[in-house]
């Protein structure tokens, strides 16, 4: 049976969401970015794009390009909720709905003709549903594979449908510029341009051995997508539970002690959430971005006895963090992510004295939690974090976060 895959691509999904919430923003160049000095642009609307602002641009640069641009902090939780509700709406048409990113959807309509009628009509009905229920318009591509439907959607404007009939994939793809292929970015396109390969058809006609000399292992994939070969199925997306904490410094930090204190604050915040939900993380990932743009990442399994007690969890993570910050370059961003959650079962130790230190830590953590629940999170803090409030030479004293308390 011929496959029928619909791809719906909602352009500028995030800014579209903001414009729906606040219609007055529609007429202005709109930029989504965190209200921090060093933040980067995370989304732009059409008006801002016309002014020359792009995603990934530093906010300061964007402001210099267009002084009247409105800057709004992104509300990722809200966008996520809308994304999930759209997936649910599309699930009425087919059980195979995949939402790899907010605003991008694949729906497998194979075998639904007798139920819903011709696939083009169903795809169009989905676009109308999106417009009526959410006020959003999508580019709709319909083809026999995810790859071709994605490219087809990329060639039209929002509110249009492009259908590529089975057998017409190569004649559709071959005249297109190579940068329209998914996965061919600016670097690959420029490398291909060095060899005067500008169109998909030119790329598809090159023998695999010749391409392998330049692109190595990537050449097989390049040839496959240029020839329109994509057997990947539409997989309903199940998001794994994750707890992510991002610290974006206004000021680059190189002091190891302060960096460790920053990590401890993140661990503290994560442990609070884990305790509230009674979960134990099985894995953690750390990512740091240096001031020169270099990013370092590490992922580790947590031992069974790593529980959601601030001190204990931090102790397991510190060696990995120290290995990560070996470069003598200031750090701009720290991302901490926990995953593989489970209920914290506890194996009782044989020797009672082994349990003493754990019990001490647990009771101390409980006392801290009780104080914070009653007087607020800021009322008391660990001594480790006090270093964050220490003044640097030539810098004014910052108000103490912990107030009069603090261990």
């Amino acid at each position: 049976m011929e496959r029928s895959i619909v791809h719906l691509n909602i352009p500028d999904f995030y800014t579209g969401m903001e414009e729906l919430r606040r219609p007055e923003l529609k007429k202005h160049p709109l930029v989504l970015a965190e209200p921090a000095v060093r933040s980067v642009v995370q989304g732009v609307n059409d008006a801002a794009r016309r002014e020359g602002i792009r995603e990934g641009m530093p906010l300061g640069h964007a402001r210099r390009i267009c002084r009247r641009a409105l800057v709004v902090p992104p509300d990722l939780r809200f966008y996520g909720e809308v994304h999930r509700s759209i997936l649910q709406e599309f699930a009425r048409f087919s059980p195979l709905v995949e939402g790899p990113l907010p605003g991008r959807y694949f729906v497998d309509l194979t075998g639904t003709r007798r139920l819903w009628g011709p696939e083009s009509d169903t795809a169009w009905r989905m676009e109308r549903l999106l417009a009526d229920r959410k006020g959003l318009h999508a580019r709709v591509g319909l083809a026999s594979s995810k790859l071709v439907s994605q490219v087809a959607a990329g060639c039209i404007t929002a509110g249009d449908l492009s259908r590529i009939f089975p057998g017409g994939e190569t004649s559709f793809l071959y005249p297109l510029p190579v940068n329209l292929l998914p996965g061919v970015g600016a670097v690959t396109a420029s490398r291909l341009a060095d060899f005067n390969i500008q169109q998909v058809g030119m790329l598809a006609s090159i023998p695999a051995e010749s391409l392998a000399g330049v692109f190595g292992a990537m050449s097989t994939r390049l040839l496959r997508i240029a020839r329109g070969i994509d057997p990947t199925p539409v997989l309903p997306f199940r998001e794994a539970a994750r707890l992510t904490l991002v610290h974006h410094s206004d000021r680059d930090e190189i002091d190891r002690e302060k960096l460790e204190a920053l990590l401890f604050v993140q661990v503290e915040e994560a442990c609070w959430n884990l305790r509230v939900h009674n979960r134990r993380p099985g894995r953690f990932a750390l990512e740091i971005r240096h001031a020169d743009g270099v990013t370092a990442k590490t992922r580790h399994l947590l031992p069974v006895n790593a529980v959601h007690i601030d001190q204990r969890l931090f102790r397991f993570m510190l060696p990995a963090f120290r290995r990560l910050i070996e470069r003598r370059v200031a750090v701009r961003r720290i991302v901490l992510e926990f995953s593989d959650f489970s209920i914290p079962f506890r194996q009782m130790p044989l020797f009672p004295w082994e349990n003493d230190s754990f019990e001490e830590d647990r009771q101390l953590q409980k006392a801290l939690d009780d104080i914070r629940r009653r007087f607020g999170k800021q009322i008391i803090c660990w001594g480790k974090t006090a270093v964050m409030h220490r003044s640097s030479p030539g810098q004014r004293d910052l108000p103490n976060r912990s107030g009069p308390g603090g261990f």
């Binding site: 099985g282 593989d340 489970s342 209920i343 079962f345 506890r346 194996q347 009782m348 130790p349 044989l350 020797f351 009672p352 004295w353 082994e354």
Partner: protein, 369 residues
């Protein structure tokens, strides 16, 4: 050196020495085996990791005497792949060993025998003949509870020490469970164990391998070193110096809840419910009621498993959770048609005994679920 050796004999001896050699070591010589062909018919093989040393020999034809060391793992891999029954080993110039069989030739790099550490097997020490089956049994019943690494609360070895009543006890603990086995002290009466000795994990596992097919062996202790001799092998194990935890104080004296059940029913019941456990969800809940034992295990991602067994119990209902692996290993080590479980409380743990397996005792701490 030039020898002709039977493939089966050589494979057996190389298999025997594999576990003693160090694989991840900075000293390459410790991953090598010393081959000494000094007599006319005997070839000796020696391996050591400096704490554990093994000597063994095979009968073969020695054409040219000599000695050298070669990677034990690589020689084993080569010999295993050779289809012929007779193999020729010949030392070549420039520290090479030629392994030849039929039309296959392998040249392995060697290190001179003079670089091999000198191993002392205390040949002059008086060894005592022991019942190999009994020693194997004692080690096998305690080996499963030896932790793979030392930590501050456990020691990676079996503690062998005399106890009251003229008995000798083998004990191991990984700080979550404790396994012990007692036997009459006269079995090892003339071996100087003093207040007790600790045999390291690697030594215990090697002793188990050596004793598996033997009925009689000789044992001795000299200068903190345990020597075990079987008809064709010498094993010397450096004893651990650490202090074994004071375990006697933690054994609950009062165990008010107790029941007995059939060994097979319990073991296979646990095996059935263990199918749905995982690395994270590894507990089994034992719910004890009058006349029945309910086993619950499961995993929210896979599902739940439940099984009910008949037991001899008339007391109050109670329930307790254990790591299922710990319980299964404990029961597996038992040689009894019945299993007796005695429970104190969460702080003191549960005791597993084999009514027909005299001397075996296991204490497991519960999991708080």
């Amino acid at each position: 050196m030039k020898i002709h050796v039977d493939k089966t004999n050589l494979t057996q001896v190389l298999q025997k020495i594999q576990n003693v050699t160090e694989r991840k070591t900075g000293m390459t010589i410790l991953s090598n085996t010393l081959i000494k062909a000094e007599g006319r018919q005997d070839v000796e093989f020696l391996v050591t990791d400096l704490e554990l040393s093994l000597w063994t020999k095979i009968e073969t034809q020695v054409e040219v005497p000599g000695s050298l060391t070669v990677s034990a793992r690589k020689l084993f891999d080569v010999v295993r792949e050779i289809p012929q029954n007779m193999i020729e080993l010949e030392s070549l110039p420039y520290d090479k060993l030629l392994v030849r069989a039929g039309r296959s030739r392998f040249e392995l790099s060697t290190i001179p025998a003079s670089d091999f550490p000198s191993i002392h097997f205390y040949e002059e020490t008086e060894l005592v003949d022991i019942d190999a089956v009994l020693l194997w049994k004692a080690l096998n019943k305690t080996a499963y509870a030896i932790p793979s690494d030392d930590d501050s609360f456990s020691i990676s070895g079996v503690f062998l020490h005399p106890v009251e009543g003229g008995r000798l006890r083998f004990v191991s603990t990984d700080s979550h469970r404790l396994a012990s086995f007692e036997m009459p002290a006269e079995v090892f009466s003339s071996i100087p164990i003093g207040g007790g000795v600790i045999i390291p994990r690697k030594g215990v596992l090697e002793m188990l391998r050596l004793l598996e097919k033997e009925t009689m062996a000789s044992l001795g202790i000299e200068e903190k070193c345990l020597i075990l001799r079987t008809p064709s092998t010498f094993l010397s194990v450096q004893l651990l110096e650490g202090h074994f935890p004071e375990y006697q104080a933690i054994i609950p004296s009062s165990r008010p809840y107790a029941f007995e059940t059939d060994w097979e029913a319990l073991y296979y019941g646990l095996r059935r419910v263990a199918v749905l456990t995982s690395q994270t969800w590894r507990h089994v809940r034992l719910t004890v009621k009058k006349g029945s034992l309910e086993l619950d295990a499961g995993n929210p991602e896979l599902g739940k498993a439940n099984d009910v067994l008949d037991i001899d119990y008339e007391g109050e209902d109670f329930s307790v959770s254990f790591n299922i692996r710990y319980v299964m290993e404990t029961i597996q080590a038992m040689e009894s048609s019945r299993v007796r479980f005695e429970w104190a409380d969460d702080a003191h743990g549960g005791v597993f005994l084999g009514p027909d397996d005299e001397g075996y005792f296991s204490l497991i701490m519960p999991m708080i679920v």
